[in-house]
């Protein structure tokens, strides 16, 4: 199975449960910045009750085995559901639940609908500004690279940098933002 086929199955399952969602992670970052390989399909999903999410799990159970225990990320305490494909390659799907974190709510509200021919459907993606803010918040080395790449590819002059700076100030990541901008050589 190819990653795009796996992504289509994941999106179909999410759509069939009538859940609001958007694609995040490396796929979203690569769309706005420099494409890179990934092993997983990451989805931010608005879960209003567990039953709808159980529909997603059931729709995918022939190809995905979900971990029985939900985990929490230690930055925002959001819930994450992790599933591993039953076949090969060993792709993963990760569903992150929208919750009452001000930034998560705002980036979800600002998501954009785009038609993606490769996935044969309209789907939802975050704005480049929101990916930058989230990546700087996470702060792993690959996240910081993604943030710098998006700033470089989009160009700070085309982005709403006031919005980015405002969230970075609230989240204490202004230093990371400055480092990312300083890391872009003259183009």
């Amino acid at each position: 199975m190819k990653l795009e086929d796996f992504a289509i199955r994941v999106l179909e399952a999410t759509e069939s449960a009538a859940l609001d969602f958007m694609i995040v992670g490396a796929i979203a970052a690569g769309t706005h910045g420099v494409p890179r390989a990934t092993k997983d399909v990451d989805i931010l999903v608005a879960v209003a009750g567990d039953s709808k999410f159980q529909c997603v799990i059931r729709a995918l159970e022939d190809i995905v085995e979900f971990e029985p225990q939900v985990v929490f990320d230690t930055l925002t305490w959001g819930r994450r559901h992790v599933g591993r494909i039953r076949t090969s390659p060993p792709f993963k799907v990760e569903f992150f639940e929208v919750f009452d974190d001000p930034f998560v709510l705002e980036e979800f509200r600002r998501r954009r609908k785009v038609f993606v021919p490769m996935l044969s459907r309209e789907t939802w993606l975050p704005t480049p500004e929101d990916v930058v803010v989230q990546k700087l918040r996470w702060g792993r080395s690959k996240d910081l690279d993604d943030a710098r790449d998006i700033l470089a590819v989009q160009g700070p002059e085309t982005l709403d940098m006031e919005y980015v700076q405002s969230w970075c100030a609230r989240q204490g990541t202004s230093g990371r933002l400055q480092e990312a901008l300083a890391g872009i050589p003259p183009l």
Binding site: H32, V70, S88, D149
Partner: protein, 93 residues
């Protein structure tokens, strides 16, 4: 022949050149093209990993190779996710 690693300024200039080329290439692509490339790179990456695993195991059995790749991926997850995720949310103070 001079070793560029002995000349920090020259090394930085080379790094900037490589990065500049990468950025300008991405800028010349549409969002859709970048998305397609992310999928292509991912599929290619797994193909390379499978070849590496089969070579290491000295096998022609793809299933055995994929099991090894899956093991590698789980180890990578454990390293990369170290400290980022927990199974219980702390109680409010």
């Amino acid at each position: 022949m001079a070793n560029i690693h002995d000349d920090p300024a020259a090394l930085k200039a080379l790094q900037d050149d490589i990065y500049r080329e990468k950025i300008l290439r991405a800028r010349a692509m549409t969002s859709e093209q970048r998305l397609v490339e992310a999928f292509e790179l991912s599929n290619h990456q797994f193909g390379m990993m499978l070849a590496g695993a089969m070579h290491r195991l000295e096998t022609r059995d793809e299933e055995e190779g994929w099991r090894e790749v899956a093991l590698w991926m789980r180890r990578l997850d454990q390293v990369r996710d170290q400290g980022l995720y927990v199974t219980e949310k702390p109680a409010l103070a």
